[in-house]
């Protein structure tokens, strides 16, 4: 009996990237394939070795806590994670800056980002490093409300940290940049705060149109739906009255971060608001944020000078 001949022809497929067609990409997501988009967003796995980047934030944050007076773990929201670490200014009536960390809404805590306080303290600021519960335990609207809680805390407790409640500013990086965008477009009167509680906002490497996030690998974690993908996109929420913003990006970042920055700046200006657009040369998504720990760095001075002009 002839041996049965097995054919594997039916298993063979063309080698190379699959083309799934335009129907697989949502409106506002100008990429041919979800993997192409995700390559722009998968920051941790864009590095051959992530450890030194993580190491930096831990070591420098510890040094910052050791060097400056601080109050840690102040609860500002209903969830246990919704807390702030605070670095009071050295002199009274100082401007206050709130920093919102990144981590694609599902990683990191404020404890790795306290190092940014060193740069702003060097310019006389009081610094509030905010935090939030992470996805998928919560959804991004919960994170936005936690950040609003930090703004409310800073306003109501300004004097306790040598701060001036009339000069509150906010900086956010990456997912925190998305939060910064959302804080810039928030109707603060609806939260019992002055409409102009934030005098200036600096989103760093932010996402302002969340439709690409929903179409990327990050959707697994953040679970955006048809409503929240729009309501958490600052791009679609720009009000008639809004604070000046300075949208920042590192020159070496992926094309999607540059595209998002351009979109938001153009839309903000189209509404008649002030929007600066700063690209930091020779820096990437992480490194220009690390420079916030140095008062004299280009990143820190660019933000401080912008806030001074607001």
């Amino acid at each position: 009996m002839d041996k049965q001949r097995l054919s594997v022809a039916h298993l063979l497929r063309p080698v190379g990237r699959r083309t799934l067609g335009p129907a697989m990409i949502a409106e506002g997501v100008p990429y041919d394939h979800p993997d192409e988009l995700s390559t722009h967003l998968d920051l941790a796995r864009s590095y051959d070795d992530l450890q030194p980047y993580l190491n930096f934030t831990i070591v420098q944050s510890r040094a910052t806590l050791a060097a400056h007076r601080n109050i840690q773990d102040i609860r500002i929201g209903s969830r246990n994670e919704e807390r702030v670490d605070v670095f009071p200014a050295k002199s009274a009536k100082a401007p206050i800056v709130i920093f919102v960390h990144g981590g694609w809404w599902h990683k990191m805590t404020r404890k790795s980002w306290n190092y940014v306080a060193n740069g702003f303290l060097g310019h006389g600021y009081a610094v509030v490093v905010s935090d939030y519960a992470l996805c998928p335990k919560v959804r991004i609207p919960d994170i936005s409300n936690a950040t609003r809680g930090a703004v409310a805390w800073a306003y109501e407790h300004a004097a306790e940290i040598n701060g001036d409640k009339e000069r509150i500013f906010l900086v956010g990086h990456s997912a925190g940049g998305q939060q910064a965008g959302m804080m810039a477009v928030t109707d603060w009167a609806a939260y019992g705060l002055p409409a102009d509680v934030l005098k200036g906002v600096a989103p760093m490497s932010g996402i302002f149109d969340m439709r690409p996030i929903k179409a990327s690998y990050l959707q697994t974690y953040v679970q955006l739906n048809g409503e929240t993908v729009l309501s958490e996109s600052a791009l679609f929420q720009i009000p008639d009255v809004a604070p000046p913003i300075q949208v920042m990006v590192g020159q070496e970042e992926s094309g999607e971060f540059h595209r998002q920055a351009r979109l938001f700046v153009e839309a903000y200006r189209a509404k008649g608001h002030r929007a600066e657009h700063v690209t930091t040369p020779f820096e990437d998504h992480s490194t220009y944020t690390y420079a916030l720990g140095n008062p004299e760095s280009p990143s820190c001075t660019a933000i401080v000078e912008f806030f001074r002009s607001c």
């Binding site: 390559t39 070795d49 190491n55 740069g119 070496e252 990437d284 720990g293």
Partner: protein, 181 residues
Amino acid sequence: MSRINAYIDGSLFLNGTRGQGMSMDMDLLGLVKSLVPGDEIGTIYYFGALSPQGVYPDRHDHDKLIAERFALQGAVTRLFPVEVRAHITFPKGIEAALSTQMVLDAATDAFDTALVISKRAELADPIQAVKKLGKSVTVIFYEYEVDPGNPLAGCADTYAALPATMVIEHRKGGPWPIFPY
């Protein structure tokens, strides 16, 4: 005096340097000399990764600029395109090229000691091969609090952690990670 060739795993070295807030705009020859004082420096090889141009156009250009700067200092530089699978990037070719060059140089008596600047575990076998050819191997690389040690330490003749301060001393431009407190 020992004749030294340096084999730098540029992808890990770049991440270790920039990831700790330091600059790749540096005096590479001066750094290598300071790592092996008193020895004769032969060839410095830099095997780097080339970021995908379509996703990271400026990082791609800067990868090339960094290699060009090192080449001007006399290093032999080679860049290898990063491969993207799904949405994850993989440096490809560095370990093979570094290993091949180092073993070839050992076989042709181009050095007495190979200075390997890496922590890539896949280099353990090539390091053993170099030792079997009668040469010694020194491994030096950053150690991190979150990732202590080096998988190559056990197979090298000598091993040392690379202090960030030594790299900062050879900075020519770019960020300065020692913050004033």
